[in-house]
């Protein structure tokens, strides 16, 4: 059988992955460096009977996707920093109302409109804390074109399984580079679809039954009538001011993530088995780190790479274990040390945590990382 080998940009691979995951709806507002995702979705969705809508702004872009998901569609929107800021309110809405939606943020240099065509990784903390109030967050970060494809599928699967918005946090590096990608046959790809109530069954829209992780989700318009609100609500979906009820709902929302960390968290370790030193990097910058690890290993330095693929929830247990083994840790990222803070929190005082980063729109080169590594370690 002929292999389906393509040469694609990360942004294009994202759309291929979304379509394989079953995306039938895309709404958004094009923004560099994510525009190819909107462009290709506009080209492809109408051909499979799906819908593409260019909305009037970024807020409407996510709002329409949430609405579409409520009717049973698998929906996605894509953006970059400035648009990600505008989408925050609705990310919180989707989290509390438990509506699956995939939000892609192809990070550029920021803050504000910043550097539209240059890479950055300054939205890591925003992905976790951007919307107000405690809420469940799943955020995935690819470092290659193929992984962008895989993680887009995974983002849809996790959104459906846990009924929550999932953020695919990429960057201009992986979004715009073209790489070889072998597209797997649909039969080889695992797809998860939300559980729906049986027609005619007694249905409470926000009640977990049958040992499920989340409430079954009825398509709006399918005959089940229920209420959806960003206010705290009871099992019927109608608003409730009861603090007891609010506590139960919040606990359930948070626990659906924290009780399933093993299912949600993935990471990559390279050359860590005998490592004395550890580089932590993610997304496009992990490519820099992989090249640096090879060069340093060639010099006989025992260094390894820990790459969070799921960045939220953060892979605490695996990193903590490594921190008991290594003498020193250096975190490389395109910001002023956002993941460094998280690494420090997790490893406590097991190892000093150093930092190598920049936020001027340039990528970090392997040479710069090696130089910094040698300076501080």
């Amino acid at each position: 059988m002929a292999k389906k080998v393509k040469f694609l940009q990360g942004n294009e691979a994202c759309v291929e992955g979304a379509l394989m995951a079953g995306m039938t709806f895309y709404s958004g507002y094009p923004i560099t460096p994510s525009t190819e995702i909107a462009e290709l979705s506009a080209e492809r969705l109408p051909r499979i009977g799906g819908k593409f809508i260019q909305m009037e702004d970024e807020i409407a872009g996510i709002a329409a996707a949430i609405g579409a998901s409520l009717t049973g569609a698998k929906a996605m929107t894509a953006t970059s920093g400035p648009g990600f800021s505008l989408k925050q309110e609705n990310i919180g809405y989707a989290a509390l109302t438990e509506i699956p939606v995939v939000i892609v943020n192809v990070q550029r240099g920021g803050p504000s409109t910043g550097l539209p065509t240059a890479p950055g990784q300054g939205d890591l903390m925003q992905a976790m804390w951007g919307t107000h109030g405690d809420h469940p967050v799943i955020c995935l970060t690819p470092d290659s074109v193929r992984e962008t494809f895989d993680l887009t599928i995974r983002a849809f699967n996790l959104a459906e399984k846990y009924r929550t918005p999932v953020i695919l946090l990429t960057d201009e590096i992986t979004g715009h580079m073209r790489e070889k990608i072998e597209i797997p046959d649909a039969s080889e790809v695992e797809i998860y679809n939300r559980i729906k109530p049986e027609p005619g069954s007694d249905y409470k829209a926000y009640k977990v039954v049958d040992g499920d992780i989340v409430p079954k989700m009825a398509d709006f318009g399918s005959g089940f009538r229920y209420h959806v609100t960003g206010l705290m609500h009871d099992e019927t979906g109608f608003p409730s001011n009861s603090t007891k009820n609010a506590g139960i709902l919040m606990d359930r929302l948070m626990a659906k993530i924290t009780d399933n960390l093993d299912d949600i968290i993935t990471f990559e370790e390279i050359e860590t088995a005998d490592a004395d030193y550890l580089i932590v990097a993610y997304g496009g910058t992990a490519r820099t780190a992989k090249a640096a690890v090879k060069k340093l290993r060639a010099e006989g330095i025992k260094v390894g790479l820990f790459r969070p693929i799921t960045v939220w929830p953060f892979p605490e247990a695996a990193l903590y274990k490594l921190s008991e083994q290594v003498k020193d840790i250096i975190v490389a990222e395109l910001n002023y040390g956002q993941m460094k803070l998280e690494v420090e929190r997790v490893v406590k005082n097991n190892a000093p945590v150093r930092f190598c980063g920049k936020a001027n729109g340039e990528v970090l080169t392997p040479e710069e990382l090696i130089q910094k590594f040698k300076e501080v370690l």
Partner: protein
């Protein structure tokens, strides 16, 4: 570290250099090698100096950006001024004959070739200068096989332009041959 080839194609926006970069990378894939292509974006890519970069390797490629090219092509003076100085000592510089190179430029091979004039006079369309350049590059360096290059070109060009592009490719190869004599 395994040997990997880093290539930079530069000119002005609209000369088809990003397409040329994609074609080179796709030809490398057809040769069962790995390839990554990146490009400059934004205002600098419109009219000013635009560049496409390609890395070709037998192994997996970690860092996706070109740091020191083994081969640089420039089709305009502005692009040459901006990008030509970065070249490895054993590298190859190929520029259009209209370009003046700095006297200090050091590379193993430096070629000034009538790429654009060949496209206009011998193929009949300036727009295929990128394909002439691809024939020239591959004729001089053999970084991809000729069969893969032609197949990659045919897969990327608009329908109905096959003969035009095949002629452009041929003229590129012929330019390479005259230089190697």
């Amino acid at each position: 570290m395994s040997k990997q080839l880093e290539l930079r194609l530069s000119g002005s926006g609209g000369q088809g250099l990003i397409t040329a970069g994609i074609i080179l990378a796709e030809a490398a894939l057809k040769d069962d090698k790995n390839a990554i292509q990146t490009q400059s974006y934004g205002p600098e890519a419109r009219g000013g100096a635009s560049k496409a970069e390609v890395i070709i390797s037998e192994d997996s490629i970690d860092f996706p950006k070109v740091t020191l090219p083994n081969m640089t092509l420039a089709l305009t003076q502005i692009a040459s001024d901006k990008y030509i100085k970065d070249i490895s000592v054993d590298g190859t510089v190929i520029v259009d004959e209209s370009i003046t190179l700095p006297e200090t430029l050091k590379a193993k091979h430096i070629y000034r070739v009538p790429i654009i004039k060949t496209a206009i006079n011998e193929v009949g369309k300036e727009i295929v200068a990128n394909i002439v350049a691809l024939g020239l590059i591959v004729g001089l360096t053999g970084i991809v096989t000729e069969g893969s290059l032609e197949a990659a070109i045919m897969a990327r060009i608009p329908k109905g332009t096959e003969d035009l592009n095949r002629l452009a490719l041929q003229k590129g190869y012929e330019l390479a041959k005259t230089l190697q004599k």
